[in-house]
Assembly symmetry: C2
C-alpha cells in the first residue's frame, strides 16, 4: 500500500460541484489501494473575501485574530469535502489543525510548521479512512491558530508528505503541469514530463505561478517527489524530483519571462572600493529587492556606470533613496521600465557547451538588443526591450528544441 | 466589579460596520468597570449560506462534518470583533470552543453544553481582557466539534452566564425588547420593562421570536437575570427574571397571536374509553404536534365530536394518518386552516378574577366567534377565524390596559 498526499488548490474546490469532483478523484485513488491524506485550500476567492472584511475594520488588523479569521476558509472546504466523500460511501473525516495537531513556531500570519502528530491519523489510514486536512494553518505551543502565509497550503502538503513519509505529494491545480514556456502566449509550448526541483524553483521565481517556491524548496530538502497536475483532466502532470533521477536529453528545459522589472542605470559613478555597497545597502534596508547588477568601466576610466534591475513598483522609491544618499556621487540616473526579463532554464545547461553563445546569437539574429545579462548554474536571464518579449521567447523555444 | 455576558445576534454583527459598533458597546460597558464576556453569532445569513452549500452536496449531509462547516461562521465573527476591539485599544481575545474548551454531550448538530472550563478566561478577565466566544458550539469528549442547534448562541450565552456566575446576561438583538403585542400590527403596543421567565416562554412559544425558548428555560432553571435589548439604540430593553421579583400591577402582560395553526374536527366519533388515545398516539408517533384538544358530547349521546389543532403544514399528513387508522370510527372530518390562535399572557392572571370572562365578553362584543379554548396558569388561548385576528388583538390589548 502506497501513502499519498493529494493537495487541492482554491480553484479545484471553488464550488460544491468541483468539491464533488475532487471527492471522485480521491475515491478513485483510494480504490487503487492507496492510503490518502488530502490537503485542501479555501474555496477560490474566500481568503481574499476574509482579508477584505478585516481591512474594512483595520488596515493593520491584529495578526492573531487575522489568523482566527482566515483559517475558517480551509475549515469550510474540509467539512464540505469530507461530507462529499461520505456521500460516496468513502470513509472520510476532517482533521482540523488543532485536532491533529499541526505545531508551528507561533509566528502569526507567517508561521513555519515544526511538527505534526501522526499517530491518530496513521491509525485512521490503517483502518481505511481518508484524512482531510486544512492547508495553510497550525497551532502554536500556546494553542493559538497560526497561518503559514499565502500559498501555505502547498507548504502544508509537502510537510505532511515528509512527516507521514508519503511516497508522493500530488499538487492538483487548474493547470495540467509545468510548461516549457507560457502556453497562453506560445501555442507550441509543451508540457514538461519531468523537471528537477532546481529548475522548478527557477521557473517559479521567473513567473511560472504553478507552485509556491518555499514548498518546492522543502520538497527538495527532503527529496519528496512532487507531481503537479490538473484537477479537471485525467492527463498526467509534471513530475518534480531531484536532478539525479532525470535523464537530460535537452540542454534547456523551459523558457520563462517576466514583465515586472525595471532597469536603472547610474552614469558616472566614482570608481572606488565600497561604492556598490554604498548604493545597495540602503535599498536592501528599504526592502527593495535588487535582481541583476552589471558594472562597466566608463569611458573616462575614473568613473563607472552601474546598471541594476528592481521590480517596477519599486522604481520611484529606489530613485528617492538614491537621490537622498550623500554617500554616492553620479552624473545621471537613467531608468527604463519598458523592459522584460527572458530566461532559459535547464539542469542540462551545465553539461552542454555553447548554450550561452547560442542564446545571444539567436537574439541577435532577431535584431533584439540585450540590455543586461545574469547567469546561474541552471539559468540564463537577459533583460530586453519589452516589445521584443514574444519574439524572443518564440525564437529561444525553437532553437532549444522545445517546440 | 460586575461580570456581564453580552450576546450579539446575527443581525447585530451582520456587517463590519455593525461589528465596529458592537465593539463600541463593549468598550463602553468595560469602561464602566464591568468584566465582559461577549458571545457572538455568525454574521446574518452566513449560517444559511453554509447550510445551502452542504445541501448542494447532500440533503443528508454527514452531521459531524456539518458541524465542522457551520462552526466556521461564529469563528469569523469572533476574529473580526476581537480585531475591532483591539483597534479601539481594548485588550481583547477570541476564545474558540476548543481553546476554552466548551464541552458538550457530543450529539452532532443538536448538542447540549455539559461544562465550560473557566480558569483561563477568568484569569484573562481579571487582567482586564474582554473574552470573545463563539456561540452555538462546543467540543465532545473526543474533541469533535459539535453545534448546539439553531439559535444555540442564546443557549451558549446563558450557559456561560451560569457557569461564570455572571450577574446578568444581556441579549443584544434587532428589536429593543419584548412588546405587549406585535408592534408592527398594533402601533399602540408597548415595550414591557420587566417580564417573568414563564411569561417570556409563553410569549416565545406563541410567536414572539425574540429569544430562543430553551435559553429562557435554562435561565429560569438557574435564575439568571436576562435583558433583551437593541444593538442599534441606547434604550433600555426588557428585563426577564423570576416572577417573585415582579410587582404585577396588571393582570395581563401581553397579547400574542400565531397564524400557523389549523383546526381539525372529527364528527361522530364513538364515545368509549381509549378513543382519544387511539386518535392521538399515531399522530404523536408521526412527530405531529397536537396543540389544543376539545371534546364535546354529541347530539345522539353515543358519539362525540373531537376538535384539535395542529400546525398548518401537518394537516394533510394528519388526515392521511386518520384515514388509514382502523382503530377509530367517525362520520366526517372537517378541517379549517383559516384560523388564528390569539392568547393573553400574564403572571398576574392567577390572582385576578374574571380575566377569562372579560376576554370572552370582549371577543363577543366584537362579534368574534370562539372556535376553541385552551388555558394554562398564565395563558389563555382561543382559536378564531383568521380574518378576525387584528380586531381581536386590538380589543384585548385595550381592555387589559396595555395601550
Amino acid at each position: 500500500m502506497v501513502k499519498k498526499v493529494l493537495k487541492f488548490g482554491g480553484t479545484s474546490v471553488g464550488t460544491t460541484e468541483r468539491i464533488q469532483h475532487v471527492a471522485k478523484i480521491i475515491e478513485k485513488e483510494q480504490s487503487l489501494g492507496n492510503k490518502i491524506i488530502a490537503v485542501v485550500s479555501a474555496m477560490a476567492g474566500k481568503t481574499n473575501d476574509l482579508v477584505k472584511l478585516s481591512k474594512e475594520i483595520s488596515e493593520e488588523f491584529n495578526k492573531r485574530e487575522l489568523d482566527v479569521l482566515l483559517s475558517s476558509g480551509e475549515q469550510v472546504t474540509c467539512g464540505l469535502l469530507s461530507g462529499a466523500l461520505i456521500k460516496l460511501n468513502v470513509q472520510a473525516k476532517s482533521w482540523l489543525n488543532w485536532q491533529i495537531p499541526i505545531l508551528t513556531d507561533g509566528e502569526h500570519t507567517n508561521a513555519r510548521i515544526l511538527n505534526i502528530h501522526i499517530e491518530k491519523i496513521n491509525k485512521y489510514l490503517d483502518h481505511g479512512g481518508v484524512a482531510i486536512i486544512p492547508g495553510f494553518q497550525g497551532i502554536s505551543k500556546f494553542g493559538d491558530i497560526t497561518t503559514i502565509g499565502r500559498g501555505g497550503s502547498d507548504a502544508t502538503a509537502v510537510a505532511i508528505a515528509k512527516i507521514f513519509n508519503a511516497s508522493t505529494c500530488e499538487i492538483y491545480t487548474d493547470v495540467d503541469g509545468v510548461y516549457s514556456t507560457d502556453p497562453n502566449k506560445i501555442p507550441v509550448a509543451k508540457k514538461i514530463d519531468k523537471i528537477s526541483y532546481d529548475e522548478m524553483l527557477e521557473l517559479s521565481s521567473l513567473g511560472a505561478k504553478v507552485m509556491q517556491s518555499s514548498a518546492v524548496q522543502t520538497a527538495m530538502m527532503y527529496d519528496i517527489p512532487l507531481e503537479v497536475r490538473s484537477t479537471f483532466t485525467d492527463r498526467k502532470g509534471t513530475k518534480i524530483f531531484s536532478q539525479e533521477n532525470i535523464d537530460y536529453t535537452k540542454s534547456v528545459t523551459g523558457v520563462a519571462y517576466s514583465k515586472d522589472d525595471a532597469k536603472i542605470t547610474l552614469i558616472g559613478v566614482e570608481d572606488k572600493p565600497g561604492v556598490a555597497a554604498n548604493i545597495f545597502e540602503p535599498l536592501s534596508k528599504a526592502q527593495i529587492n535588487v535582481d541583476m547588477v552589471i558594472q562597466n568601466i566608463s569611458s573616462d576610466q575614473k568613473t563607472t556606470d552601474i546598471t541594476f534591475t528592481v521590480k517596477r513598483g519599486d522604481v520611484s522609491k529606489t530613485k528617492q533613496i538614491l537621490k537622498k544618499n550623500s554617500n554616492i556621487n553620479y552624473k545621471k540616473i537613467i531608468e527604463n521600465d519598458k523592459v522584460a526579463k527572458v530566461s532559459i532554464v535547464g539542469a542540462g545547461m551545465v553539461s552542454t557547451p555553447g548554450v550561452t553563445y547560442r542564446m545571444f546569437r539567436a537574439l541577435s539574429d532577431e535584431g533584439i538588443n540585450i540590455l543586461a545579462i545574469s547567469t546561474s548554474e541552471i539559468k540564463l536571464s537577459v533583460i530586453i526591450e519589452e516589445d521584443n518579449t514574444l519574439k524572443a521567447i518564440k525564437k529561444l523555444h525553437t532553437i532549444f528544441d522545445l517546440d
